[in-house]
Symmetry: C2
Subunit: 242 residues, 2 copies
């Protein structure tokens, strides 16, 4: 999937600890930044529990609708790490022990080897390994699903492998402006310009003290510039910062 | 839904600006804290685009499976605010103008009134209004779906209304410990204790420098204490902090 790369992605965060508030989610921010830089549009995020059925259902849903699915979490050696069986079930394949991973683990763990460590060699049948340049285990990919670690510092190190795999697209063009007005007072102008430029997305976000932050975004930089100019023209003196 | 309150919830965050990385998600943290304090288990989070079909599908999915669904975002006056038609479609009802909301808006906006401001009075048919004590408009609830604003300072102000509506349960009991070990070395003990105490959830989260943070959680405080003691007994001297 090099070259143009996938155009859309979904992220599936697997972790009771996030949903229960014991740990703050920390991987989406860095993931979103990389996807954006590489021109991949993130269209959906789901945060779900450590349960095989929930993982299988969400991954199957996303894999059928997006070019790439990035999972975060649930790939460690303990009983609550269920992403591998969940992804296997999503594609109706078995969980198998990968010989290359097993060999790496035996070499790495040496006399500290446990059955739990060997569980790290289990993958959905048909997975491929994406070589890492970070001295960690390779990233496992099952068709268009990438199984990233949940631990934030490991997640960030694997992001460069993911970038190589998914990269190559161009980020969208974006222009922003701040308007000194109530949102209700400028809504009609925003709607009219949005309708006139269907190839761009116009976002409107109220801020405190009667300010609205407006974003104009799209893959066609010319259309983004034109729509921004039209907004600025119609909103005139109320544009406070570009 | 006072008293015991709902036991499970899902959150649906509606916003292109989050998915595209233009704005960092800021409402889940405060929401998760309130739900936890009130004994409501958050079981799913979805972050989806400003699209009526996506909103309708996700809200319908969640409303059928959870006691409460909290949406965040998409309820303002502009063209990209599509949560009301999305929730209406989820329940196959029309969007209607609520007379009480319209009256409040006319009183509040006075000579600044626009058609866009009046859009704030549109709700899914059959919705109820939850009185606010924050001088903002009431919180709209459609069956078990609560339509919260996306702007973080407004979201936080509405959280107390939501707490009154959903509250009354008890937070789960939780005990935590840090273990000086590789996760692969203690995985077998964690699995055995988890199997022996099916009424508690044991979570295992590797930290740097060969430490594992272990959490034991459940509604039965006695079982949580027993499982924690059993873990401490079996892991012996490797428990560094309770």
């Amino acid at each position: 999937m090099a070259g143009e790369g996938p155009r859309t992605a979904a992220a599936v965060v697997i972790g009771d600890e996030i949903l229960s508030g014991k740990v703050a989610e920390a991987n989406l921010g860095p993931l979103i930044a990389v996807l954006r830089e590489e021109g991949v549009r993130l269209q959906r995020v789901a945060i779900i529990p450590d349960e095989v059925d929930a993982i299988a259902a969400e991954v199957a849903h996303c894999a059928a609708r997006h070019d790439a699915v990035i999972t975060s979490g649930g790939i460690g050696p303990t009983h609550d790490d269920l992403t591998v069986p969940g992804v296997a079930r999503a594609f109706a394949v078995e969980v198998v022990r990968d010989e290359r991973l097993e060999s790496l683990i035996r070499t790495w763990w040496q006399d500290r080897l446990t059955d739990a460590a060997l569980r790290l060699a289990d993958v959905p049948a048909g997975s491929r390994l994406l070589a890492a340049d970070d001295a960690l285990l390779p990233l496992v990919a099952m068709r268009n699903v990438y199984l990233m670690p949940g631990v934030p510092h490991l997640f960030r190190r694997k992001l460069e492998t993911l970038r190589r795999e998914l990269g190559g697209g161009r980020p969208p063009a974006v222009q922003t402006m701040t308007i000194a007005a109530e949102e209700t007072a400028i809504a009609a102008v925003l709607s009219a310009v949005a309708a006139a430029f269907p190839q761009v997305k116009i976002g409107s976000y109220p801020r405190k003290r009667c300010r609205v932050w407006v974003t104009v975004e799209g893959t066609d930089a010319g259309a983004v510039a034109e729509a921004s100019e039209e907004l600025a023209r119609q909103l005139g003196g109320r544009v406070t910062t570009a």
